[in-house]
């Protein structure tokens, strides 16, 4: 088991290196003169030159890469071209709302999606099953911003149950934070909930046809017990996989949601950086999102061993 853990963790390193190279190349691959592009149409040659020097664009690519990589290794992600504030500081200021929003969204999606999918799986073909599937298709198909504005209109503007905009930090109390994030999280979680419900349903349906489920029933165990104790753990691998993908997708989702609900998080930071061509911020956020994605999927991989003891002997099976 330890060997399996270590191997999986080491296998992530080349992926992270590739990510770093790709992020560095973002600037290099910009068509034309990146400095000109960043500075905008109205910039003077001096301004362009200043940007060029600041980003080491006057150096050969290899030297630039070394400088960027070495700074990265020291935790230095550069400074914002517009505000001159270190990117790490900007990220630190903005990370809490995004983290809370993502966490709340995924918890909501799992807590609703898994039971819904499991329930549908026990009643395949029934009216309830079809209703659940119809709902999940709708949740999957409606764009986040439409759902978001719809929720704002009804829940906030008509019913005045929840605030329409803004974010209350954790320092103002967990209740206040949750209150401010509930609408955005509900709007954002629809897609993931639908995905999780569908995958859970399919996985549980398949497991329920397995011989060992019949064995469990023949032992005189109740339906509910068999479903929760015998079927769900064996259906867990596709479910955690789709949750892992969901977390990756969430990082893109927050950009829209944070803009709609005016939440000062990383998504908003990314959106404004892109509009202002603030390359160090874009690079840093791309890098951060990619690293989070890789790490989440590493966790997903490791959890396979938790759910299926056969994965732990992966090595023997592969030979």
């Amino acid at each position: 088991m330890i060997g399996y853990l270590v191997r999986r963790i080491f296998a992530v390193i080349p992926v992270l290196l590739l990510v770093a190279v790709a992020v560095f190349s973002l600037l290099q691959l910009t068509p034309g003169d990146p400095a000109q592009l960043i500075a905008g149409d109205t910039a003077t040659p001096e301004q362009i030159q200043a940007i060029r020097e600041k980003l080491h664009l006057d150096q050969p690519p290899l030297v630039q890469a070394m400088a960027w990589g070495s700074a990265l290794a020291h935790g230095d992600l550069g400074t914002s071209l517009l505000s001159g504030v270190p990117v790490t500081t900007l990220i630190a200021q903005r990370i809490e709302p995004t983290l809370m929003l993502a966490l709340l969204t995924i918890i909501l999606a799992v807590c609703v999606g898994v039971p819904l999918g499991t329930f549908a799986a026990t009643r395949v073909g029934s009216l309830i099953d079809r209703l659940v599937m119809l709902l999940s298709v709708m949740a999957f198909s409606v764009p986040v911003f439409i759902l978001a504005y719809g929720l704002v209109y009804f829940i906030s503007l008509k019913l005045h149950w929840l605030p329409a905009q803004g974010y209350k930090p954790l320092s103002a109390g967990l209740g206040a934070t949750l209150n401010s994030l509930m609408l955005p999280a509900v709007a954002l979680c629809g897609v993931y909930m639908a995905q999780i419900a569908r995958v859970t349903r399919a996985a549980v349906i398949e497991v329920l046809t397995e011989d060992f489920i019949r064995t469990a029933r023949a032992k005189g165990l109740s339906r509910l017990y068999v479903l929760i104790v015998h079927a769900l753990p064996n259906a867990a691998i596709p479910i955690v996989t789709i949750i892992g993908f969901g977390v990756g997708g969430l990082l893109g989702g927050v950009v829209v949601t944070e803009t709609v609900f005016n939440i000062p998080g990383l998504g908003q930071l990314a959106a404004s950086a892109i509009l202002q061509r603030d390359y160090p911020i874009i690079q840093a956020l791309t890098l951060l999102f990619a690293v989070v994605y890789v790490l989440v999927n590493l966790l997903v991989d490791l959890s396979y061993g938790l759910f299926d003891p056969r994965v732990r002997v992966w090595k023997a099976v592969n030979r």
């Binding site: 080491f10 011989d211 064995t215 469990a216 023949a218 003891p309 023997a316 030979r319």
Partner: protein, 634 residues
């Protein structure tokens, strides 16, 4: 012998007029029609029948475990222990299942929860039914594992199912079914997926536990040998109906129904001889006329293998520990004369399928070479290798999984010709039609897809596909072990008649010695990657020289209820792991005759009389002659 109490009591289970229907689209079609059967206390009732006979469905409806939505009981009364099971609620049935009726299923590999420890799965039963505390339940689980004689039971409690062999898993299943000492045990084909040696052990165990706990047993099987070994009374099912019921001796001595008689006639039995001697396996719908056909003499060699070996797991990934290589096949030499059949027998894990895949040139040997039609293959690459590979074709075990579901029968058979190129479509059509005729399929079936065929018909398609390129050798890996007895007889007859007509050479891999006797000219017995005995069929069946071969023969159920073999206790005794091969003679850990010499030195395959070869320091010791000789020496 049946140990019934003196005064005939009510039967433990009485099933009356049971009918079950299956859903087919929007309709319900009958699967079981008005079936009656009963089980007395302490009795073993065998329900025998082929697939689709309704034998499993009947017992599943006793358990109330018919697949919901696709099957339903349409009529019938099920009296069990004074209660009418058909009137009980789901909750009441749940309380009876596992407590009063235990059940063992066919597939030990898939019938245990792969993500749960053995001990937990066993403990669940008594925790559920007796409300036992975790500690008590665990203690009882351990006791039960010891009762079914799982070696090192204490450490097995925390094992997961995949860490156990098939035979051990079936012991766990038995332990689980008996955890709360049920009055009735239903065993649905409990040994079908097991090797013949393990089957003997598991059947002996069931018989022993039945005697000890006084449990009544319903044993469902398609194997008449198992019936002869186990039954007090037998019910024969066919197509959803019970056609005959009789005490076991009566059934075997004086079968009444034509179907029972046909079933008995279609079952290959040891000592029946080979098709070359004019023997024909009866099939349910009549048999082709017999014809004597001696093996062709000296027609050359179709396939020769020398010093074949295959090691797995030598290379290790980075950071991986250096694993000990598994020697799946070790120093195997073979020769297959043209027009003959070489059978390879052995338990699962003995390396016979790895050997087959090497002979097929689909995996490369670690050492040794294979000659096909006199051409060495080891150095062949690319196109030359592809050409020689066409000379050797394969028929697989599972006809349901080995045909492409989206291709028609014609496309499947024609595919090798199409790939080869050269023939125009009219020639290909003609060839395929001829082959269909040869394997006994109607031309009307050409356009059908595999799911429209029965298992036997699919195996006919697989055979047609294998011989369409006119190969030198056909490797058949357990080609009949997934088929019903009557269909098995048809396929074996077909393989014999094709060999007679086309002069094909077969490598026939099987664990079933009675099937091998019918089809083989030469038999090679494999044990842990080596050939331990090889002989012409008649010589091997007359006097096996290796103790392992003798053990295999003794494990075959007898088909004679008056000459049962498994009444005595048989110790759990399984094939060692190929990663941990015993020193000296590989078989010595399971050999009752092993001596110090066997531990010290590894016997080579040495020639005896009449082309008989054996790898044993004491050839023939397991026979009575051999034992007499040994006692003289001592």
């Amino acid at each position: 012998m049946n140990m019934l109490p003196a005064n005939p009591k009510l039967p433990l289970l009485a099933v009356e007029n049971l009918s079950v229907e299956f859903r087919s689209g929007r309709q319900w079609v009958p699967a079981v029609c008005n079936v009656n059967f009963s089980v007395e206390p302490g009795e073993t009732l065998c329900i025998v029948g082929e697939s689709g006979s309704g034998k499993s469905v009947s017992t599943l409806s006793v358990m109330g475990l018919l697949p919901e939505r696709t099957a339903r009981r349409s009529s019938g009364r099920i009296q069990f222990d004074g209660r009418a099971l058909e009137t009980l609620s789901d909750a009441e049935m749940t309380a009876i299942r596992g407590r009063d009726i235990g059940m063992i299923f066919q597939e030990p590999m898939t019938s245990l929860n792969p993500a749960m420890r053995i001990g937990t799965q066993l403990a669940e039963v008594v925790r559920r039914h007796a409300g036992a505390s975790p500690r008590t339940a665990r203690r009882q689980a351990l006791e039960m594992l010891e009762r079914v004689r799982i070696p090192d039971a204490a450490s097995r409690l925390d094992a997961y199912p995949h860490e156990l062999s098939g035979g051990m898993r079936q012991r766990v299943m038995i332990a689980m079914a008996l955890m709360s000492r049920p009055k009735l045990l239903i065993a649905d084909e409990p040994t079908t997926a097991l090797d013949v040696t393990i089957q003997a052990q598991v059947l002996a165990l069931i018989a022993e536990l039945k005697r000890e706990f006084g449990t009544s047993v319903i044993l469902i099987t398609h194997n008449l040998g198992v019936v002869a070994e186990m039954a007090d009374r037998v019910a024969v099912f066919r197509a959803g109906e019970k056609v005959e019921e009789a005490p076991v001796v009566e059934l075997f001595d004086r079968p009444q129904h034509p179907y029972t008689r046909a079933l008995l006639a279609a079952t290959p039995r040891l000592g029946g001889g080979s098709w070359r001697e004019g023997r024909v396996l009866q099939t349910i719908d009549g048999a082709p006329s017999p014809s004597v056909m001696p093996a062709p003499a000296d027609a050359g060699t179709a396939l020769r293998a020398s010093g074949l070996g295959k090691r797995f797991g030598q290379t290790t990934g980075w950071l991986g520990r250096l694993a000990k290589p598994i020697r799946a096949v070790d120093g195997v030499s073979l020769e297959l004369p043209r027009g003959q059949t070489l059978a390879i027998v052995g338990e699962s894990g003995c390396g016979k399928s790895t050997l087959a895949r090497m002979l097929m040139l689909t995996i490369a040997p670690s050492e040794g070479d294979i000659e096909i039609d006199g051409q060495a293959t080891a150095s062949l690459r690319g196109e030359a290798r592809r050409l020689v590979r066409r000379r050797i074709q394969m028929v697989f075990q599972d006809p349901f999984a080995s045909l492409h579901p989206q291709m028609t029968a014609k496309q499947i058979v024609a595919e090798p010709l199409v790939n080869l190129g050269g023939d125009d479509s009219r020639t290909i059509d003609a060839k395929v039609a001829r082959l269909f005729d040869l394997v006994g399929l109607s031309p009307a079936m050409l356009g059908r897809h595999p799911f429209e065929f029965s298992g036997g018909q699919r195996q006919r398609i697989a055979i047609a596909r294998a011989i369409v390129l006119n190969p030198a050798v056909v490797v058949a890996d357990e080609p009949v072990s997934a088929l019903d007895v009557s269909v098995q007889a048809q396929i074996l007859n077909l393989m014999a008649s094709i060999q007679r007509e086309l002069g094909l050479s077969y490598i026939f891999i099987s664990h079933d010695l009675s099937v091998v006797e019918y089809i083989a000219d030469t038999v090679a017995v494999m044990y842990l990657g080596r050939i331990v005995e090889r002989a012409p069929r008649a010589a091997l069946y007359r006097s096996p020289l290796h103790p392992y071969t003798t053990m295999l023969f003794q494990s075959v159920p007898s088909l004679d209820p008056n000459a049962r073999r498994f009444g005595h206790r048989i110790a759990a005794n399984e094939l060692p792991s190929p990663s941990n091969i015993p020193t000296g003679c590989r078989f010595r850990t399971r050999c009752p005759f092993a001596t110090e010499l066997c531990a010290a030195s590894d016997p080579a395959l040495a020639a005896q009389d009449n082309g008989h070869e054996v790898a044993c320091h004491y050839p023939g010791i397991a026979t009575q002659d051999g034992q007499a000789r040994m006692s003289e020496l001592a």
